[in-house]
Amino acid sequence: MRHDPESDAARFLGGVMPVEDSHAFSAHLLRCADCWSEIEQARRGRSLAESVRTAASPALRDRVRGLVDADRLDAGDPARRGPRRWLLPVGLPVAAAAAIALIVALASSGTPEPPSLRQAVADYTAERLPGAQLPEQRAPDLTALRLQPVGAGGGSYAGLEVDGFAYLDPAGRRVVLYMSDDPFPEAPGAQQLSGDDGPWVVRRGDVTILCARLPHALLVVGQDDRLVRSTAQALGVL
């Protein structure tokens, strides 16, 4: 047998050495410092690697369960849609009416979308943050909504300094907060939620943008309209 400490030790520890060779190698180990060292280091390395194993968190288990539930509802097979089917007859005309209302509102206002809002929606859709700068503040705590922070970064949107905070809930729904020291411009066609200076909301494609000017210049962006509004409520701005 050719003497190759690394290869021999790997085969010995991996249990792929023929029995006779294995017995011979065990005896050889007692008098060969190189082979002994190979075995010792590999065992220590394996022990170190194994010692950092962790159990999956309850949050991850919830997230997996939520993903499977959500995907079952969204799957193309009508049999999998279950309780959502009743939404179709009502939902389609409502969605169509909303789209028409948005087109009419935009056409009548004649105002283009402010670049900062356009960029926020584009980044949300592309799963990007405003930039790589450290945010000036910590991510707001939204654990009451089971939203966990998954990323943060600061940058500039059309001259507006913005910090972005991305969150995911157990079902994989994503919400991003955009915070600035200066107010965001109002979107054309926005619906005022309480008075002219209060928060407003608008839908762009499948994304809801909710802006609250007080106490912070804040955008909440997400695909799930209810989650966006709940987030704003949890932050005390709605």
């Binding site: 690394e6 280091q41 170190l48 159990a55 369960r65 499977v68 943060a152």
Partner: protein
């Protein structure tokens, strides 16, 4: 075999997948994202054709998703994660029963794993973190069993030396 069967199978292997993903990614958040991506890809594959060996099949999907993610990330702006609030508390709680490593050592082991060449990293993540056998790992990475054993052996030696150097250096 419906979605309920899938969920049972996936959650049965979730700890192993979580550890595999944690070894293949740089942060707990990335690991959870990778497991989520694996879950969705596996679910859709499961509906078409449930696998014979779910453990190895989930791991194969996870590894392929991780490899795609490396490529995507290369073309993506860096996301700053404020360590203050995105800290890996699970890592600090350290770990499985019987672990005698401090949180600093756990962090150091993870760093050392992350610095391994990709083939060694994948072998360590699958065998030592995920607990897959050498035969399963060989099928998952598509390499001969002897090659996998050589990779994991070299990776383990690097880890042992890295941590020994730390201790000798008083870190």
């Amino acid at each position: 075999m419906d979605d309920g069967d899938f969920l049972d199978a996936f959650t049965e292997h979730l700890d192993r997948l979580h550890n595999l993903a944690r070894g293949l990614t740089g942060s707990p958040q990335d690991a959870e994202d990778l497991v989520s991506e694996t879950c969705l890809l596996a679910l859709r594959g499961w509906r078409r054709n449930p696998p014979d060996d779910p453990a190895a099949w989930f791991a194969t999907i996870c590894l392929n998703a991780a490899r795609s993610s490396y490529r995507r990330r290369a073309a993506r702006p860096v996301e700053v994660t404020g360590e203050d609030w995105l800290l890996d508390r699970a890592d600090e709680r350290a770990d499985t029963a019987g672990s005698a490593l401090s949180s600093i050592e756990v962090r150091r082991v993870r760093e050392a794993v992350g610095q391994l060449p990709a083939p060694q990293l994948e072998a360590i993540a699958l065998m030592d973190l995920g607990g897959y056998t050498a035969a399963q790992t060989a099928r998952i990475v598509g390499a001969p069993r002897g090659t996998v054993l050589a990779r994991v052996h070299r990776g383990r030696k690097v880890l042992a030396r890295a941590l020994a150097d730390d201790r000798e250096g008083g870190r």
